[in-house]
């Protein structure tokens, strides 16, 4: 294997997810490539429907319904796209963990949480029931649930949303995966709990040296938490850079608009919240030119005719797809006050 594969845990090339629907084939993800090094965090950012979750599900090999996934997904030394279902089942939960968006519905309401944490261990590690229960208690402690020995016998409805998301994280971490996919892990939670969960994920990632794909629609969530950030729009990656660089200079106008629409505490009261006018293009239609053009204030004829390639301009790590990018050097400060970095122990 080449040096690139040694360093990289995950290399995805040209991933497309096509979902057949009544109005034609929806290209939820369209020729997306990304790579992730061991122990690093990649953030996927974009508004609802931009294809972030679909991309995650494609990597996990569980696209919705009759959707078809194309492309190569090299994980370790295997191409996940080529593996039969049985071998994928052996990887999911063992080497790749996943935390879903809504902890209210991602836990089975009729099984005790201890069972749900023990299940992947029983399946993948072949340990005894007693040992699995012991480890479940340990894991509950590790994800910051007080009195884990009692909570292990709780049903999900006896726990709060934040607690349930901690349980979901414990399930994902049960077999010590190398990669954790967190698909909007805090979207359904209160702002204060959001920060706690994100900090917990960050801490666990450091301790366990996991790589992580962190999906969010909120650039503010990503700031300071991901090594690299990829911005998605209408099934394509439109800008990608190390997070620090991205916040230093946003080149793609969609990224900029996304950033401007984060509500800020230091804004004068009464000022209306910024939003991006228009809506996502119909992904079932044949799309021409830049997909963001219809909503972009600076769009010109070329934007509607030709699709801009995802290329670097100056900085090698910083790639973006825009014909008329923002001037480099417009520095923006991440919205600090909205998400206090450390509130929990």
């Amino acid at each position: 294997m080449t040096a690139a594969f040694d360093r990289h845990l995950l290399v995805a090339e040209d991933i497309s997810v096509h979902i057949p629907s009544g109005g034609g084939t929806v290209r939820a993800v369209d020729r997306v490539s990304l790579s992730l090094e061991r122990g690093k965090t990649l953030a996927l950012v974009g508004e609802s429907g931009s294809g972030k979750s679909m991309l995650c599900r494609a990597i996990l090999g569980i696209p919705p319904g009759r959707a078809a996934t194309r492309g190569r997904i090299i994980f370790g030394e295997r191409d996940l796209a080529q593996l039969p279902e049985k071998e994928l089942n052996a990887i999911r939960g063992r080497e790749i963990g996943v935390v879903l968006q809504n902890p209210m519905s991602s836990l089975n309401p009729v099984l005790k949480v201890g069972w749900q944490i023990a299940e992947p261990m029983l399946r993948h590690l072949g340990i005894s029931l007693l040992k699995a229960r012991e480890r479940a208690v340990e894991l509950l402690g590790a994800v910051g649930i007080p009195r884990p020995a009692e909570r292990v016998d709780c049903y999900p409805h006896q726990l709060s949303g934040g607690m349930r998301q901690r349980v979901a994280i414990a399930i994902a971490l049960a077999c010590d995966p190398q990669l954790l996919i967190a698909d909007e892990p805090t979207t359904a939670l209160d702002v204060t709990v959001q920060a706690e969960i994100l900090n917990l994920l960050g801490r666990l990632q450091m301790e366990r040296r996991m790589a992580m794909i962190l999906v969010s629609h909120d650039l503010g969530v990503v700031a300071g938490r991901a090594h690299e950030t990829a911005v998605m729009y209408a099934g394509r990656i439109v800008e990608q850079a190390p997070t620090v660089i991205l916040f230093d200079q946003m080149r793609m106008r969609y990224t900029r608009a996304l950033f401007d629409s984060i509500p800020r505490l230091d804004a004068p009261s009464g000022q209306p919240l910024a939003s991006i006018g228009g809506q996502l293009p119909d992904l079932a239609a044949e799309l021409q030119g830049c997909r963001f053009a219809p909503r972009c204030r600076r769009a010109e004829d070329r934007c509607f005719a030709e699709e801009p390639p995802l290329v670097a301009d100056g900085l090698e790590d910083h790639r973006f797809a825009c014909w008329f990018p923002c001037e480099p050097g417009i520095s923006v400060t991440p919205p600090g006050p909205l998400l206090p970095k450390r509130i929990m122990s």
């Binding site: 569980i62 999911r92 063992r94 963990g97 209210m104 836990l107 009729v110 992947p120 409805h157 979901a168």
Partner: protein, 272 residues
């Protein structure tokens, strides 16, 4: 549940409890044997020795009600169980796999539903003989398509829930997902539906008894008792009306319990 609702609910529970206890303790009650004929007292109203009177053949109505309760209770609970198991076997895979297998199973179900139930029961009891077991199985098969529909609808509902996706995310295969994620969740709506079916089955068994197709005479069944009194309805109405009232109250109670439990579970579901 309002105060009035809860009183009727507990009355219904009480009545069902009485019926079940009677069915279990039937042989120990101080009444004559159910098939003991007293030729001197034909269709008499309640009197000493016959607390609820006698039927047209001079048999004690109270005793026959007690033993008839056994038939009604066994058929009423076991037939829906048979239907639930059969229905789950058909409905859960249909809802989980969708597509071609689902269409095939739905076609089978539609065929079964379109087949006249009474004709099916007549043929089934004719071929296999009328006994408690065949009646139970036949009524179970008859209710299976409805259970299958409930199972399928709920499977579809739960298969789309995030915890099934989460289970896939930890490497669970189809079988394990059906067993651990779908079935336990589908069970609750199935059991509630079962409560509603119990009422239907008790009535159906009564109907079969009325036609003489339930447990063979002289073994008592409520339907048979009602049928036995129909010729003397004008002279001794109690012979038919007492078992009718008992069956009516039992079915009503089962349905009331079913509605109440469903209401409670629907509210619980909202919180999940």
């Amino acid at each position: 549940m309002g105060k009035r609702g809860s009183i009727t609910f507990w009355l219904a529970i009480g009545w069902i409890a009485v019926v079940i206890v009677c069915a279990i303790t039937a042989p120990w009650w101080p009444v004559p044997a159910p098939d003991l004929i007293d030729p001197d007292l034909l269709a008499t109203p309640p009197c000493v020795g016959h607390p609820l009177g006698t039927d047209t053949m001079g048999r004690d109505i109270a005793a026959r009600l007690l033993f008839g309760a056994r038939v009604s209770i066994i058929v009423g609970f076991c037939a829906p169980l048979v239907g639930m198991v059969l229905g789950s076997l058909l409905g859960v895979p249909a809802g989980f796999y969708r597509g071609r297998p689902e269409r095939l199973i739905l076609f089978i179900l539609d065929t079964l539903l379109a087949f006249p139930g009474l004709v099916f029961l007549l043929v089934f009891t004719f071929v296999f003989g009328a006994s408690l077991t065949t009646i139970t199985v036949a009524l179970g098969v008859l209710t299976a398509p409805r259970f299958a529909r409930v199972a399928r609808a709920n499977t579809i509902r739960f298969a789309e829930r995030e915890f099934v996706l989460a289970a896939r995310g930890v490497g669970a295969g189809d079988f394990s997902i059906i067993l651990r994620e779908i079935l336990p969740n589908v069970l609750a709506p199935m059991l509630i539906y079962m409560l509603l079916v119990i009422g239907f089955v008790i009535v159906a068994e009564g109907g079969l008894g009325f036609l003489g197709l339930s447990v063979p005479s002289p073994a008592p069944s409520w339907g048979g008792m009602i049928a036995g009194g129909r010729d003397i309805l004008d002279q001794a109405p109690h012979v038919s009306l007492i078992p009718t009232a008992v069956m009516f109250l039992t079915v009503l109670s089962v349905n009331l319990i079913g509605d109440a439990v469903r209401g409670r579970l629907d509210r619980r579901e909202g919180q999940l």
